[in-house]
């Protein structure tokens, strides 16, 4: 039992490496922010394309559905490894894009962001879709009969209402995204998991990992609680029956 505590809760080691691990954790947060913002936008684009009507757009809609299905079916880790393992070799892409070094962040960061955006964009598209489908059909009818095009109706009427219905599931996706930033460690990006494992190898002690877990806990636990609160509030709204919605 003593060994257990020594292995996992050696506060000296935690103290010595605290700054190091915290700084690495900021890298997780950074990847999270960049990937989250891009994925939120990308997911919305996918969701809108997916349900824009018109015969001519059928191939595009089909591609979007296929993309969403495939990217939710392949594990994120594999996607990240595929990107980082293959893209540098695709020589017809110019080197600046192939091996990015943008804004002071080198390639593992951007491969990680790419993987996260591709996969989470797909999940978020489905969340948006649920929100869009939850908007009463009469809204689209009214907008269209006033002369708005499909896209105009989406922009002014449907999407603004859809996003008010999805904070809970979207927040879930974001929490999941934050945790999945740890996967970028496999392509040698210096985030907190990687750093903790190095400390593990150096000091033969897992306390740094516990410290990392603690950092995640501090952020994700309140996040999960917030989701619960949002869900409860939404239920109350529905049962209160705010709107006149006669069947």
């Amino acid at each position: 039992m003593k060994v257990f505590f020594e292995q996992y809760f050696d506060f000296h080691i935690m103290g010595e490496h605290f700054g190091e691990v915290l700084e690495a954790f900021f890298q997780n947060l950074l990847i999270f922010l960049v990937a989250a913002i891009i994925a939120l936008i990308w997911g919305l684009v996918l969701a809108v394309i997916r349900q824009t009507p018109g015969k001519g757009l059928l191939p595009l809609r089909f591609l979007t559905i296929a993309y969403i299905d495939v990217l939710r079916a392949i594990p994120l880790l594999i996607i990240i490894l595929i990107i980082s393992g293959g893209v540098p070799f695709i020589t017809f892409i110019p080197k600046d894009i192939r091996i990015p070094e943008w804004f002071g962040k080198s390639d593992p960061f951007w491969y990680g962001v790419a993987g996260l955006v591709f996969v989470y964009g797909a999940y978020m598209a489905e969340v948006y879709r649920a929100g869009i489908e939850a908007v009463p059909k009469g809204q689209m009818e009214a907008a269209r009969s006033l002369g708005m095009s499909h896209l105009q109706a989406m922009r002014h009427i449907i999407i603004p209402q859809a996003v008010t219905k999805i904070p809970a599931p979207m927040l879930n996706e974001l929490i999941s995204l934050l945790k999945d930033t740890t996967l970028v460690s496999v392509i040698a990006f210096g985030e907190s998991t990687l750093v903790s494992r190095e400390i593990l190898a150096e000091r033969l002690n897992s306390s740094a990992l516990i410290l990392t877990a603690f950092f995640f806990l501090v952020i994700c636990l309140p996040g999960a609680r917030l989701v619960d609160i949002l869900i409860k509030r939404n239920q109350a709204k529905i049962t209160r029956g705010a709107h006149i919605e006669v069947a």
């Binding site: 015969k55 009463p136 009469g138 809204q139 009818e141 009214a142 907008a143 269209r144 009969s145 006033l146 002369g147 708005m148 105009q152 002014h156 009427i157 603004p160 209402q161 008010t164 705010a242 709107h243 006149i244 919605e245 006669v246």
Partner: protein
């Protein structure tokens, strides 16, 4: 007589396997108020949605001010899009469920389409919107959100909203059916004023009184076809067809 403003010829509409409209003919002159009655499932609402191409017909022709609107992309023939705009900017619709935009104020509901579709400036649209809302008696509620308005008030905003696009024809789809009885009158009054100003109106309704007093023609539909039509007095007081009689008997007994 001049060409009717709206002419429907042999209109058929199918939803999947179910044929809802089985060949409807109708002529509407400018300024006429046509009241459409009939049991549920007779195709009344579908007919309205054909006219503004929300549910374009598979067969038949619809002429609006001389143009065959079924030859646009709404009918699936794949030609250029001007017919859809042509229709939607001349035909306004008011729904049973109001369908106001809940995230916009009354004034914003009214000004949104003129700004985004017609390209009017915000101030121009607001000026017009204010006037319209006053006209329907809601000049003091410009900044309120739909959820703070009563059903009757919401429906009047919906009428103002449709009028903001300066339509030539207005479609009313059972607009009082979802209202509490005491709120019905204010909406019907607004519609009456509109009729007196000369608006061409197609009104699907159960309000027999309104049909009698305001309607120029009454059309009775059942099973996807027009069973009987004529001026209100003849149809409502002396229906020729048995189906009409049955329906009216049922309705008037209430």
């Amino acid at each position: 007589m001049a060409e009717p403003q709206l002419r429907l010829k042999n209109v058929h509409k199918r939803f999947g396997k179910l044929e809802v409209l089985k060949g409807v003919d109708l002529d509407v002159d400018k300024g006429e108020v046509i009241c459409i009655l009939g049991p549920s499932g007779s195709g009344k609402s579908t007919l309205l949605r054909c006219v503004n191409l929300l549910a374009p017909p598979e067969e038949g022709e619809i002429f609006l001010e001389g143009q065959d609107i079924c030859k646009g992309p709404g009918s699936g023939t794949g030609e250029s899009s001007w017919n859809l705009d042509f229709v939607r900017q001349r035909v306004g619709m008011v729904f049973q469920q109001f369908n106001l935009f809940p995230h916009k104020t009354a004034l914003e509901n009214v000004t949104l389409a003129p700004v985004t579709v017609l390209g009017k400036s915000k101030s121009e649209a607001e000026e017009k919107g204010r006037a319209l809302l006053e006209r329907v008696g809601l000049g003091n509620r410009l900044g309120q959100y739909p959820e703070t308005l009563s059903g009757g008030q919401q429906q009047r905003v919906a009428i103002a909203r449709a009028l903001a696009m300066e339509p030539h024809v207005m479609l009313f789809d059972e607009v009082t059916s979802a209202l509490d009885p005491e709120l019905v009158k204010e909406v019907l009054d607004t519609m009456r004023e509109l009729a007196e100003e000369g608006m061409t109106m197609l009104v699907v309704t159960h309000e027999i009184g309104f049909a009698r007093e305001v309607g120029d023609q009454v059309v009775f539909m059942d099973g996807g076809v027009v069973v009987e039509q004529g001026d209100p007095k003849s149809v409502l007081d002396n229906p020729r067809e048995e189906r009409t009689q049955k329906f009216l008997g049922l309705v008037l007994e209430r």
